[in-house]
């Protein structure tokens, strides 16, 4: 049973990696945001699977927190898009004036998936807060 759980968890991480192709292709900013949604759900599934092994029950609490943080990411993204400064064809929500604050607060480094999602949350939240603070930035 433990082997099956590990295999399924590995498979889920692989599906997220394949889903990254959509980030590369785009074409719109919302398409890229979809992968953050995918990562949230899949990350919760992976954490829940890993939490079933003996002695790792705390990961279930991490899954609980991640399920909430994933939605915060999307809310921040929607605010950013609504403020009229959407990164239409740009590389990512991590705009030029967000000087890469990602790794500093990525405390939930349990798996690679979680790290990536936390970094994405962080960058988007920072960009969202930035946009909320200054709704009409100088061009």
């Amino acid at each position: 049973m433990a082997e099956l759980r590990a295999a399924v968890a590995l498979f889920l991480v692989l599906t997220v990696l394949v889903g990254m192709i959509r980030v590369a292709r785009g074409p719109s900013f919302a398409d890229r945001m979809l992968v953050a949604l995918l990562m949230g759900t899949t990350g919760v599934a992976v954490l829940v699977l890993l939490a079933a092994s003996p002695g790792a029950g705390a990961l279930r609490d991490v899954a609980l927190v991640l399920s909430l943080l994933a939605s915060v990411t999307v809310v921040a993204f929607a605010r950013l898009a609504a403020s009229g400064r959407e990164p239409a064809a740009g590389p990512a929500p991590g705009h030029p004036d967000a000087p890469a604050p990602a790794p500093a607060a990525a405390t939930v480094t349990v798996t690679a998936t979680v790290t990536a999602t936390a970094a994405a949350t962080d960058a988007t939240a920072a960009a969202g807060a930035d946009a909320a603070a200054a709704p009409e930035p100088p061009p």
């Binding site: 399924v8 599906t15 719109s28 949604l37 995918l38 079933a52 029950g57 898009a81």
Partner: protein, 100 residues
């Protein structure tokens, strides 16, 4: 390998299959709205099946209940975020796909 374990394993495999379907939909569907459709529905069902499989195998009732709480939270938050993404895309002028 008891019958219960067999059922739990089958549920885990079915959940993984739904996650695969969600990713395939994300890659293959033509626009944001259809991709959202594939992603949110298939992935939440997959998570539900995985949670069900793990809950069957759980050590205590409290553990199974916590799994259930996680699943319902994910369902609420992902239906909300689905709506938000679709609305943001719509307002930004992403046109829905049409068959030519």
């Amino acid at each position: 390998m008891t019958a219960l374990e067999l059922v739990a394993g089958a549920l885990l495999c079915a959940g993984a299959a739904f996650f695969l379907a969600g990713t395939v939909g994300l890659l293959r569907f033509p626009d944001v709205y259809t991709r959202l459709h594939a992603l949110t529905k298939a992935d939440n069902l997959g998570l539900g099946l995985i949670v069900a499989g793990l809950a069957l195998d759980a050590g205590s009732v409290a553990e199974a209940l916590q799994l259930g709480i996680i699943w319902s939270l994910v369902m609420v938050s992902s239906s909300l975020s689905c709506q938000l993404v679709a609305r943001a895309a719509r307002r930004a002028g992403v046109a829905p796909w049409r068959r030519r």
